[in-house]
Amino acid sequence: MQIYLPIAEISVNIFLLLGLGLGVGFLSGMFGVGGGFLMTPLLIFIGVPPAVAVSTGANQIIASSTSGVFPHWKRKTLDLKMGVLLLIGGSSGSIAGVQLFALLRGMGQIDLIISLSYVGFLGIVGGLMMIESVRAIIRAANPDKSGGRRSLRKRGWIDRLPFKMRFPASGLYISVIPPVAIGFFVGTLVAIMGVAGGFIMVPAMIYMLRMPTNVVVGTSLFQILFVTALTTFLQAAQNQTVDILLALLLTVGGVIGAQFGARAGRNVKAEELRALLAALVLAVCLKMGWDLVVTPSDLFTILPRGAGEGF
């Protein structure tokens, strides 16, 4: 059954979209990530114009992070103060990102920048996560050698920054600069890559801000919710690239898939889950890197010209 998408202006099989939402939702529920880094490339692959894929991806993440943030809100595993600071950075990052997106699109280089960002960030994050999780698996296999577990409480240069503030929920006393900077950086990525940035936000909060793990996911979801909401709004208002029909179809599949994914995830060990996620991230990275290097089937690209016209 085909459905014609009003903004993407293509005709797609409705079950393909529901299945895509279900599949990505399953993985995102299993690994506790937004899944945008899978969804956006897949949408582009099935023929959705990249600009629409990125903006609609952000719209769909609003739904998944809304459903994700409620349990954390109830259990109070959410650092509101930290979340608001990340949000201040994130909002400015998102505004800057949407401008940058429009500028790059005007230069005809947006596809390249999207691909390069994916290869770069997925490569770094996937690689680090893979090394860390493989070490953890080896440690778990030989418990006798697990003596030297480093516990770095020092944040080095981050502790020397001014404008310090107390964060009771996280038990931290740090400068406001790092959270705002991290938020800004992730906000820009949301606009350019159509990802929630959880895969960068979560490691940054754990390893750079040294936040306790139990509040990290809730706080990350909280800030992602508002940043994706702002990004969706700006993309819709400025570039008219949000396809509500596409977003709704992906959301229906996504929320259901996420529930099954979360259930499946409980039966797998944490470090093995991280290794699997790392493998997935690296696979997407390799695929996009390969596409950049391999000789394209057509050496010419046809791009529409004129702001706000078409996609």
Binding site: A63, T66, G108
Partner: protein, 282 residues
């Protein structure tokens, strides 16, 4: 269908030009094509009648979609990565171009004649390129003044020189790329013998509209060829528009973008909240 035939016959009866001069009339079976949520392509039928049709006469039908401004870029390898470079801009390229003929186009008329009248995909694109030449030259002279003729960048990694771009062989590569992309999406189509000549000077042309049919105003042009030259022509207009939910959302997104943005955000939040109610309560 019968109505269209009668209409065509009726039009034929009207004395347009001199009594014995060859003439042609045509009408589309529909004046608007609606794109609804289940749109997956459509078939368009054009009926027409000719006056004074002889055995060596042939009919050519051209359907042209709304024009779009394009920027065509060639990918070149730099640092091992394929990067879009050497842009060439084209104004008002039809987003849809289909041609149906009573015989293969190349047997109806000589390429020179087609080029002169701008009929056929190749001729249409070449005419467009000729119209753009002045603006390319202007741009090239302001970007790189007096850089002279340089060979096109055959070797990867080499930067493209704008003046070399405008050379005939380079431009035709770009035109081929536009034609290739259009054919890939089925928005450029050349149907060999898409026109059926019926009895009594009547004819029928069938044109396929693909799933990716662009929205906008279309013009169908009907030519009567005799001895390899167009001797009469007529045009009819067609409108392709979104309808139903498609139209509602498209107009909402473009006319009230701020409200539409808020609506999208709110819908997603509600969907997330419903999911939370359905799955997260214990």
């Amino acid at each position: 269908m019968i109505a269209a035939l009668l209409l065509a016959l009726g039009l034929q009866g009207q004395p347009q030009i001199a009594t014995e001069a060859p003439g042609i009339v045509a009408a589309l079976t529909q004046e608007t094509v609606e794109i609804r949520e289940d749109f997956d392509g459509a078939e368009l039928v054009l009926y027409g009648a000719t006056r004074g049709l002889t055995i060596q006469d042939e009919i050519v039908v051209v359907l042209r979609g709304p024009g779009r401004d394009l920027r065509v870029m060639q990918k070149s390898r730099s640092f091992g990565i394929w990067v879009n470079s050497a842009p060439l801009e084209f104004d008002d390229v039809p987003s849809y171009y289909a041609i149906a003929t009573s015989l293969p186009l190349e047997t109806i008329a000589h390429p020179d004649e087609l080029e002169r009248s701008g009929i056929g995909l190749q001729a249409m694109l070449e005419a467009n390129a000729r119209a753009m030449e002045a603006s390319w030259l202007l741009r090239a002279s302001t970007v790189v003044d007096g850089a002279g003729e340089t060979d096109p960048p055959a070797e990867p990694g080499e930067q493209a020189e704008p003046p070399a771009l405008i050379r005939q062989d380079r431009v035709s590569e770009y035109l081929d790329a536009i034609a290739r992309a259009g054919r890939r999406d089925d928005v450029f189509a050349e149907a060999q013998r898409g026109v059926e000549i019926l009895d009594g000077g009547l004819f029928r042309a069938t044109i396929a509209l693909p799933p990716l049919t662009p929205v906008g105003n279309y013009v169908a042009e009907v030519y009567l060829f005799r001895g390899g030259r167009p001797i009469a022509s007529r045009s009819a207009s067609l409108r392709v528009e979104k309808a139903g939910i498609e139209r509602f959302f498209f107009e909402f997104a473009h006319d009230l973008p701020v409200l539409y943005g808020l609506f999208c955000v709110l819908m997603a939040m509600i969907a997330g909240y419903i999911a939370n109610l359905a799955f997260n309560r214990r």
